[in-house]
């Protein structure tokens, strides 16, 4: 029987990182009323996931699983579909950017930017689908687009720092011995 793309260990590790994403989104709220600030922790964890399982699809898998989890526990104000799709899109965007360049601080930051922006993008697409006039969206989503980008960049950078801390702590040596 051929080996699967993700080993069972990798899949479970991604699943538990997805749990951290949901818990982080719920518990680690900064005292800010700024749209997109959850991206600081969220994108950091997606970048970390992509780093500890360096395969295309890792962050998207975390996105999908965390989206399902978040929908189950009632996170998000626009319903389960919005939650599921936006979480998955964030993960997929991080994956795509991370696949385009070698892992470094810039790639990580850009991946965070892409992920947090993709999350907002899904919301905008849903709002377009509902029929909200484009003008309203432009007016109402310009500032959030900026803040999502900033927090996404910061989150990606934070993810890079966490990966470096994990590397120094011997975490990747620990992983290297396991399939």
């Amino acid at each position: 029987m051929g080996r699967s793309y993700f080993s069972t260990f990798e899949l479970l590790l991604l699943a538990l990182l997805a749990t951290l994403v949901v818990a982080g989104n719920v518990a680690l709220r900064l005292p800010l009323k700024v749209p997109g600030h959850s991206g600081l922790v969220w994108m950091a964890l997606l970048v970390v996931a992509r780093g500890v399982v360096p395969k295309l699809g890792a962050a998207a898998t975390v996105g999908l699983l965390s989206g399902l989890l978040a929908a189950f526990v009632g996170v998000g104000d626009k319903g389960g579909l919005d939650t599921l799709v936006s979480y998955t899109a964030a993960g997929a965007a991080v994956d795509l950017v991370a696949a385009c360049a070698p892992a470094n601080v810039l790639t990580s930051a850009l991946a965070g930017l892409a992920g947090n922006s993709a999350k907002l993008g899904v919301k905008v697409l849903l709002e377009l689908w509902i029929g909200i006039p484009t003008g309203f969206l432009v007016l109402g989503r310009t500032f959030p687009a900026l803040t999502h980008a900033v927090f996404g960049l910061a989150g990606g950078y934070l993810g890079y720092l966490v990966l470096e801390a994990l590397r120094r702590a011997g975490f990747f040596v620990y992983l290297a011995g396991r399939r």
């Binding site: 993700f6 990182l17 929908a71 626009k78 319903g79």
Partner: protein, 241 residues
């Protein structure tokens, strides 16, 4: 979020608990698709959907979901009414409400284990389904683990720990140190748990191509009634325009 921390808020007495999760997913997708129809048929569909939610004992969950987005509803309604008209404002609000409430049918009446089995029946790889179930089971453990890490690092008087208890908007160097002291153990513990579970699963033959689920899903009479009703209502709504 349900009171008491992370966890699913399920409606145990709802008749939808007896319905196949695949049926509920189909109903939710139909409700989401109905978001695109015009006002009059949407109102008809919405009324039927509200009736279903009420009959299934999900009115409270739906109200809570809509309450979370109240600011968004209010702002949109006012803007639409001011700049377009009241019909348009009502249309957009109804669409948003339906979108927000559509998947309550699934998430408030289906346990993760049930969804896992349904997912496998729909072609989801068993390993992915198992990973999801494991993630959900770990949610409760995570809070305890996090508190344990926080306490253990506080006991070391690691500088900056106080800042995590009282978050502030400016970031200091100590905050990054404190963050590493919390995040690294959290990720390491997650990896160790993932490894233990994968070893235990392998020891019980996980990844066997012979795998047969003990639980079987069969569409019952109620499932068929709901599916037919959905098709009729959605079809009728589209024809009504």
């Amino acid at each position: 979020m349900p009171p008491g921390g992370l966890g699913q808020s399920i409606a145990p007495d709802s008749f939808l608990r007896r319905v196949d999760p695949r049926t509920k997913i189909a109903l939710s997708l139909a409700a989401s698709a109905a978001v695109g129809i015009p006002l009059r048929p949407l109102a008809f569909f919405g009324a039927c959907f509200v009736g279903l939610l009420a009959g299934a004992g999900l009115a409270r969950q739906a109200a809570a979901q809509l309450w979370r987005a109240r600011l968004w509803f209010a702002v949109l309604f006012l803007l639409d009414w001011t700049f377009v008209g009241v019909d348009f404002a009502v249309l957009i609000t109804l669409r948003l409400a339906l979108l927000a409430a559509a998947f309550i049918l699934v998430f408030a009446t289906t346990t993760p284990d049930e969804l896992r089995v349904a997912g496998e029946r729909l072609g989801l790889p068993p390993r992915l389904a198992f990973a999801f179930a494991t993630a959900f089971r770990s949610l409760a453990l995570l809070e305890r683990e996090w508190q344990g890490i926080l306490e253990a690092q506080k006991a070391r008087d690691i500088v900056g720990m106080q800042s995590l208890e009282k978050p502030h908007w400016w970031l200091r160097r100590d905050d990054f140190t404190s963050a590493a002291a919390l995040v690294v153990p959290a990720i390491v513990l997650a990896a160790q748990r993932a490894w233990s579970i994968s070893e235990a699963a392998a020891a019980r033959g996980f990844e066997s191509p012979l795998r047969r689920s003990y639980r079987t899903l069969r569409l019952g009479a109620l499932d068929h009634v709901l599916l037919v009703a959905t098709v009729v209502v959605l079809g009728g709504s589209i024809l009504l325009r």
